[in-house]
């Protein structure tokens, strides 16, 4: 047997290659003082201006936020907001005045902001039918939408769009006035293109929407295809966290500093039940997006920490220029010492 294997391959000697002998050329970095200090200094140098840039950008964003859910509740209903909000007969109109702190250049974005609203709840997130939204032939695909799937007890009447997300569509409305002059709100292109094009069908029309026993939120125009119902599309892009903003519309004119804006709100949406908050926000945006001091401050903070660490390391290295590393603390030496 031996002989036969030997004749097959002349020798069992392993072939030499840098790979098999584990001698590949390699970069073997170790954290020398130079490296450590350089890295921290680079981070500090990189982060400080970036942070300042972010802060600067954030500073240039003008933002007006107004919480109105409590203030728009008539005093007579203050103990019983449910009755007020659920009743069809109460007057939901509410007027708020906002002051523009600095000049806001168009486009100015109008947001509504909800707090303590769990759009990311699994029951909520899953309660939709993407197929139905895309394709008019799939209107019956309402499996995941329960309980908002069919008109009560009638399997032949699927709700389009079905599910809790659509059903709970935000339905407060805002009108803006400068003095007595209404400001145009541009509600076009507030949703993502790909949603409009591919996720919401241009030939899918709302059907049986909000026709069930319990009406959740906003209603839809049955004559407009879903792809044009941008409010719905925006709403159905579920938010990541329980406190979120969604785009309501855009104002395409500038607002000057110290101007007073009147907002006429139809306070329809029920946040009282779950103790949520409603806010309306006007904001400009630049490359960083909306007003966001956090990023800039964290950059600066991290940069500062790194700078501090770099300095401490320099000091440490200066104080202990060549610390050989004391072998006595190695575990086996400790054990030995303990014996």
């Amino acid at each position: 047997m031996d002989a036969s294997t030997r004749t097959r391959s002349n020798s069992n000697k392993p072939k030499y290659s840098r790979f098999t002998q584990q001698e590949l050329p390699a970069w073997k970095p170790i954290l020398t003082p130079k490296w450590v200090i350089t890295s921290f200094v680079i981070i500090a140098i990189l982060f400080t201006p970036t942070g300042l840039l972010c802060l600067w950008a954030s500073e240039h964003v003008v933002e007006i936020i107004d919480r109105y859910d409590d203030d728009c509740l008539p005093d007579s209903y203050s103990t019983n907001p449910d009755l007020y909000i659920q009743s069809r007969s109460t007057n939901k109109t509410c007027v708020r005045t906002l002051k523009v702190p600095r000049k806001m250049t168009a486009p100015i974005f109008i947001y509504y902001q909800l707090d303590n609203f769990y759009q990311n709840h699994r029951r909520y997130v899953k309660s939709r039918s993407d197929k139905q939204l895309r394709d008019p032939d799939e209107a019956d695909e309402t499996e995941d939408c329960k309980p908002q799937d069919h008109l009560s007890g009638n399997d032949d009447e699927p709700i389009v769009p079905c599910g809790l997300v659509a059903w709970s569509l935000f339905n407060d409305t805002y009108k803006f006035f400068k003095g007595n002059k209404a400001i145009d709100i541009d509600k076009k292109n507030i949703a993502w293109e790909s949603d409009k094009k591919y996720k919401f069908g241009s030939n899918v029309y709302p059907k049986n929407f909000q026709k069930g026993g319990l009406i959740g939120g906003g209603e839809l125009d049955d004559t407009k295809p879903l792809s044009e119902q941008e409010d719905l599309i925006v709403w159905m892009k579920t938010a990541a966290l329980p406190s979120f903003r969604k785009l309501y519309g855009k104002i395409n004119t500038n607002l000057e500093a110290n101007e007073t804006i009147t907002v006429v709100i139809q306070n329809n949406y029920n946040t009282y039940e779950f103790g949520g908050e409603k806010k309306v926000a006007l904001s400009t945006a630049n490359w960083i997006g909306g007003k966001n001091d956090f990023l800039g401050i964290s950059f600066l903070a991290t940069g500062g920490v790194c700078f501090f660490v770099a300095v401490s390391f320099i000091l440490l290295y200066v104080l202990k220029p060549r610390p050989l590393g004391d072998p006595t603390h190695l575990s086996w030496n400790r054990n030995q010492a303990a014996q």
Partner: protein, 1197 residues
Amino acid sequence: MGTGRKRRLHFSKIYSFKCGRNRFDDDHSQIGGPGFSRVVYCNETGVAEAASQSYADNYVRSTKYTPMTFLPKSLFEQFRRVANFYFLVTGILSFTKLAPYSAVSAILPLIVVIGATMVKEGIEDWQRQKQDYEVNNRKVKVHRGGGVFESREWKNLRVGDVVKVVKDEFFPADLLILSSSYEDAVCYVETMNLDGETNLKLKQSLEATSTIHDDSDFNHFKATVKCEDPNASLYTFVGTMEYQEQQYALSPQQLLLRDSKLRNTDYIYGAVIFTGHDTKVIQNSTEAPSKRSGIERRTDRIIYFLFFILFLMAFLGSVYFGVVTKRDLDGDRQRRWYLGPDRSDIFFDPKRAPAAAVYHFLTALLLYGYLIPISLYVSIEIVKVLQTIFINNDIHMYYEEADKPAHARTSNLTEELGQIDTILSDKTGTLTCNSMEFIKCSVAGTAYGRGVTEVERAMAKRTGSPLIVNGRDQLLDDHNDEDSTLSVKGYNFEDERVTNGYWFHEPHSDVIQKFFRLLAICHTAIPDLDEETGKVTYEAESPDEAAFVIAARELGFEFYKRTQTTVSFMELDPVSKKRVERTYELLNVLEFNSARKRMSVIVRDEDGKLLLLCKGADSVMFDRLAKNGREFEESTKEHVNEYADAGLRTLILAYRELNEEEYKEFNEKFTEAKNSVSADRDELIDQATEEIEKDLILLGATAVEDKLQKGVPECIDKLAQAGIKIWVLTGDKMETAINIGFACSLLRQGMKQIIITLESPEIIAAEKDGDKNVISKVSKESVKKQILAGKAQLTASTSDPFALIIDGKSLAYALHDDIKSTFLELAVGCASVICCRSSPKQKALVTRLVKEGTGKTTLAIGDGANDVGMLQEADIGVGISGVEGMQAVMSSDIAIAQFRFLERLLLVHGHWCYRRISSMICYFFYKNIVFGTTVFLYEAYASFSGQPAYNDWYLSLYNVFFTSLPAIALGVFDQDVSARFCLKFPLLYQEGVQNTLFRWRRIFGWMLNGLVSGVIIFFLCTRALDPESYRKNGKTAGMEVVGATIYTCVVWVANCQMALAVSYFTLIQHVFIWGGIILWYLFLLAYGAMPTSISTTAYNVFVETLAPAPSYWVVTLFVVIAALVPYFCYKAVQMRFFPAYHGMIQWIRYEGNTDDPEYVNMVRQRSIRTTTVGYTARSIARDNNLYHLNLELQAPK
């Protein structure tokens, strides 16, 4: 054929003990009964009766699976692992409504992982299948009928077939020998594959069939064999053969076992008795015990710990979920009305909140499963396979002479190689070459032989004195010596007084002549005369014996012919200066065995004088000398002691003249004893021989050197400096073992030897009484006393090195349950431990004692069948693929060709593998905890409803694609320091022994690091993106944007963390680490480009929403750096101010201080302590001693 005819000798006659003819005894009455039901119709293939038998065919399968069973069996194996089972359960549950993600995405990684393992299993099994195919398709000559033999594959052999096996072939099945090329139908069998013994065994057929010598004779041959059923006992066989209407008893003597080899015999005929899996050798093969490494066991525990965390997280989440769900419905009032709590299904129903919480618990278990690294086990397996490939391909562990590279037979123990605390080594064949060299002798009280032994050389080195032999300084000649290795193997005798016939001029030339004649006659070797060259080679039972015959030949007493009754040798006649032939008539051989410790032959010389020639161990021989035979006793004893000191094996040679009556009387007694059938047959033989082997006349003593293998002292030195304890377990006698200990530097002067032995007078007295109970009681007491005394010595002085030497007899008592722990404490406290005269079982027991008693990792290394138990018992068994058969290799985990390769195997490969595996596992936990933390924290913001922020496929591909490859690259390629430094700083090895890289502190450190990274990533990402718009177009970030951003950061952090942890960047590391990140972006692009029905929330997410947003990139940059800064700070401080040992070496390398002796010594500090063994330590100890010695010498006497 010619030699065959010439060799038709009745060798059976010269053997007394082994070759008794058979007799019917009790066993044979059982034939036909239960357990003895096998009936074999020899040579009757066509007959209906024979055909009706349904014995197994001769196909042997060593594979674990067959094509049919592969799938179920390997799947079962896979799901026996807790983690895999968990993933199977979650996979099944993911088809229900409980699942927070889609079933396909959950199942796919499991399939990949299980599939990879199964492919690995399949490949391994396929290789076994190839081996099987090779074995099963070997050809053998089988009787076809009509006296014609044809070639047939082994697998087609049937029970009852008559086969013809020729010289040097393996037996294809268990055969009943019918006849052989020898007239008396004996044959020689090499059973190396069965028991590892190299000596040939003699088998013989029944007399009745021994006359069949031609193929054609089998035309009419018919026999029926009735015998025992297949069993695993190699040394028993009971059966009868009915041949020519006669019943004959069969014994193991007639059975030729599969896997043994026909030697020195031209051919045999045999009938197939057991085939395939019925054969004794296959019945005997047990599944090797499956070994798992300590790291893997600890990994299991961490996995359990993670499971605990997972359950805890799920439990807390469920409780919270239950509470908030219940609150959603307050009577009629719906709080979170948008969730439709009034008409909810069971999973979210506030009215049945507890049930919902329970279901949610299951959901959470599925979701938090990302804490458990699904690909960990398969990655470990892949990494280990690759590591073994590196071991197998290491050019530095390739042994040119034997053409043998290292061979890791199991891949699951590589990292244990880096954690060995104790090495238990066999001696013969492992430390030594098992090649014996006749080097010295003492004849008639004069010592001859000027060869220098390894031990003498080592001693000379130690004392520093030049060793002048033959006018040459042997120390200086070291190198030459290596090249000028003896022209004759087994012979290293140099003495001008004796060689070339000069012995005749010595004073006691007659004694010298007798001495060498004895060497040429008194043995059982078989000469093999090469007729062309006239050279004689010998087949001997042991290398010692070969050395004697060779020595005799070289000195002019050339044994060249053996017949059944004679021994012939050529002798240089001192008077005529001619070579004359002497033929002695061989009357009896009284064989060697371990109880007798001697062998004798009785011969009649050419003058008709009867001589008994005897050689044996000094312990038995000196007692047997005649009063007038003790002339040289004193000086011989002295020489023997000297030889033993030099690490040589000694034998005493003596002879005696017999008179005819005496011999006649003996022969009668002896023959009677031989032919006796009673149970005490051996005892009778012993008695008979006892009476004749006395009143001997001493001739002298021989000394044979057991050559140390190349590089052994150096290797032991390195291993000792690495802090590894080395125990030698040997079957040799104490003196030899101690001397080998000196040669290997395991022992040195100034080391206090604690010797535990039962050679004390009271024990011997008790033994003479013969009461077994008393003996064992006294012995045990004595052993206990000695152990306690040793311990007391040990505690009295902690700085002195101690050596423990214990013999097998004492060891038997020391291993008793009640004193073994004390014994272990003593042994562990000693720098070297040598167990001599230990049996294979004791070796295994000692190994187990060390393994279980200390809880440390043990490695056993050995080469022979007697080491098998030890190899299997130890955490790692290393077989030396040397000359002593394959048994040790077959039961080892790793086979190397030379002991010295152990140095590289442990210090380099072991250290690397340990480091790689432990770092890789830590990293695996790290990356999964980072990911799991982000998943969990998100839950806290989603009222624990079980909704992940990530797309299903992000979840499932995290482990398998984006982060596993760099981890595997770490596991395969990482090196903290290069091989050169591993060897230069052997103490580095202690990192593994102390398990510093995989202790709980480090594991939890990594887990904490994971937690910190996860928390930083999650909060920074969510705070940076919420709730404002994040782009110039004013649009806000939805769940998919936040999810993808966090995920991007996780992938970046996990891979960059790897880059920080790696200290060895090859191109491969770069490709895998940066490739993992690039792969994520590519995936995002590709997945996002798929139709919305597949990509769902990830549709166009990168192209449309993420990539154009500067804040996405800024956030990624910021979060990644922020998440890594804590670790970076820690590592910078640790590396500079508290470097681990490898860190210090890295500094040395980096600062180029490798040649700064002061610096290097400081780092090496404590690699040599007073208790360290090895020659470096020895020379240091000597220097210290010299200093004291000089002081003493200077003092006036």
